[in-house]
Each structure stands twice: as C-alpha cells, then as structure tokens.
C-alpha cells in the first residue's frame, strides 16, 4: 500500500466516523474549541500509531479504542486547562470564551434545529457518566459490552447508566410526565 492510498483510506475512515467522534469529544469537554483540540490531538496520535499498513492492508483502529483515546485526551486537556485557568486567574487575566454556538446535530429545518438545541442542552445538564454512555450507545454505535470495556465498568452498570440517562433526559424534556 502506497503512502497516498494509505492517507486516502484514513481520510475515508475519518469521514465515516469523524462526526460521531467530535460529538463524543464535545460531550467530554467544556467548549467547542477544546473538543476540536482533543479530536485533533487524538487523531494525530492514532495516525502515528496506526498508519503503518500491516501486510499492505489498511488497518484502522477499533472504534472502542478511539473513544478511549478521546476520553483520555479530554481528561488530559481538562487538566491542562484547569492549570492554565488557575494561572490566568492568579495573574488577573480575563479568560474569554472564544466559542461560537455550535450545532451538535444535523438539522434541515428550523423546528428540527430547535429540537436539536433542546436535546443538546439537556445532554449537557445530565451527569457526565450518563451522558457518555448515552453518546457511545446511540451515536458511537457501541454495544454495552464495548462501552463497559471502554469505561472500565461492568456491562450491567453501562446498561443501567444508559437507562438513567434516558430517564434524566425525560425529566428535562418532559417534566410533567410520570
């Protein structure tokens, strides 16, 4: 496999999975800029580790592994940000939010756009441990077993968290329903 065709294979793989990876990164970070930084950093690391073709074939990293890498990168990034913020606060810097309002979901109509915005805000309100399971299950298309391995929790816990996440969303989206 030539370097050009290898690069093409990676691009194709990224076009297939990039949106869901960014969505996961958005859920794990506090801002759009952080999410993009984390995604870039993760892809760069994976590219360096996985870009050597084995037996002349393109061997993409398993999605579960990519999510783990994203998760770890987000944690590292958050630590760095915290340290930086502390430094800036000590030196009386004003930290400006450079993020624009980003749509987490594809929308084709105004109504759909509003609904997507409501769900995005609801997702941001529920506990992070529920949100990540929900994101991995619905948009990451991982099984509970894969999620459990990814988060280092039992599969039953992953399934419970998924249910709690849906329930938490229900309470936000349909507060009057029982």
């Amino acid at each position: 496999m030539t370097e050009e065709s290898l690069a093409e294979s990676w691009k194709e793989w990224f076009h297939l999975n990039g949106t869901r990876l960014l969505l996961f990164a958005r859920g794990k970070t506090k801002s759009e800029a952080d999410a993009q930084d984390v995604l870039q950093d993760t892809i760069l690391r994976l590219w360096k580790s996985y870009s050597s073709p084995i037996d002349g074939h393109f061997d993409p990293p398993p999605l579960a592994l990519v999510y783990t890498a994203l998760r770890n990168a987000a944690i590292d990034h958050a630590r760095r940000i915290n340290r930086r913020t502390q430094r800036e606060q000590k030196s009386d810097f004003i930290v400006r939010d450079r993020d624009q309002v980003e749509n987490w979901f594809e929308t084709s109509s105004l109504e759909q756009s509003e609904q997507a915005q409501i769900i995005k805000e609801a997702l941001q309100q529920i506990p992070e441990k529920f949100q990540e399971v929900l994101t991995l299950k619905i948009w990451g298309e991982l099984t509970f077993a894969e999620i459990a391995e990814n988060l280092n929790i039992p599969a039953n816990t992953a399934a419970s968290r998924y249910r709690y996440a849906l329930d938490a969303l229900r309470k936000i989206l349909k507060p009057n329903s029982i």
Binding site: A7, R20, L23, L39, W47, S52, E106
Partner: protein, 165 residues
C-alpha cells in the same frame, strides 16, 4: 422500558451528529498527508550505525581496560587464596626448630651521676640527677639449650626542684 423512554430514545436515534467544521476537517486531513513518521519508522528498521574512528578506538581501549581489570582481579583472587593457605599453615604447624623463648629480663641499677644545677625559664632552680641502669634480656632455645643475651644500657634524667624560700 416505558413508552416515554422509548420515545426519547427514538428521538435521539433520529438525530445525526453535525458535520465537522470545514477548517477542522482540513486540519485533520493535513495530518494524514504528513507521512514523515512512516518514513522514519522504516528508516529506523534499516538504520545502520557506523561508528566513527574515535569511537572504535574508544571501544578497543575500553575492552583492553576491561581485560586487564579481569586479569588482575583473577590474579588477586589466586594470591589471596595462596595467602590463606600459608596463614593456615603458620597457625596449624607448632613451633619447632630454632625457636628462642625469652626466659629472663633484668633491670640492674648501676649508679647515679650528678648533673649539676639548672635554671628553668621561669627562674626556678633544678638539681639534675642521672640514674644509670643496665637492662638485660635472655632467650633460650629449647632444642639445643643455646642462649642469647642482650644487654642495653639505659639512663633516666630527673630534675628535682630546689626550694629557695
């Protein structure tokens, strides 16, 4: 799972993650264009390390020093093992021939000599008295009864302060 939850799940499934921002896509595609690290990987496999001449000399010198060190260490071990044997012999074998044993020692007073008066730095007068002795030592060989006698003259000088008041 109740209907509300199923409904929410359905809604979530209907939503598709938004497309990536164009600038982000471009940046990430650039990552894939850069294949320097692949070349480096292959280059590492093929890498032959040529030592410069000075390094060759250093390596030979180091080997030589190591060899000499090992040689002397072995030699030292051998010597120390010989020493051990000798010392064991000296302890185990009883004293036999030509061994003299001290049998007598005397300290004989031979006389006293007046050394006169001395004045010390702090103006105190002293009377000097020299005592003369003869120290004799006697060794005997148990085997043949031969004797060795040694006489050494010795003397001791005393300064006795004189009362002036």
């Amino acid at each position: 799972m109740n209907t509300d939850l199923k409904e929410i799940e359905q809604k979530l499934h209907e939503l598709k993650p938004a497309k990536l921002p164009d600038d982000l896509s471009a940046k990430i595609e650039n990552i894939f264009e850069n294949s320097d690290h692949i070349q480096n990987k292959y280059a590492n496999h093929r890498k032959i390390i040529w030592f410069p001449k000075i390094q060759k000399l250093s390596a030979v010198a180091a080997l030589l020093i190591a060899f000499v060190g090992v040689f002397f260490a072995m030699l030292n071990d051998q010597n120390s093992s010989n020493e051990t044997t000798t010392s064991k012999t000296s302890v185990d074998v009883p004293l036999k021939n030509n061994q003299f044993i001290p049998v007598n020692a005397k300290n004989v007073f031979e006389g006293v000599k007046d050394e006169g008066l001395f004045l010390s730095d702090d103006k105190v007068p002293y009377h000097g008295v020299r005592y003369q002795f003869s120290d004799s030592f006697l060794w005997k060989n148990e085997e043949d009864g031969s004797l060795i006698e040694m006489k050494v003259p010795s003397q001791r000088l005393f300064f006795v302060p004189i009362k002036t008041d």
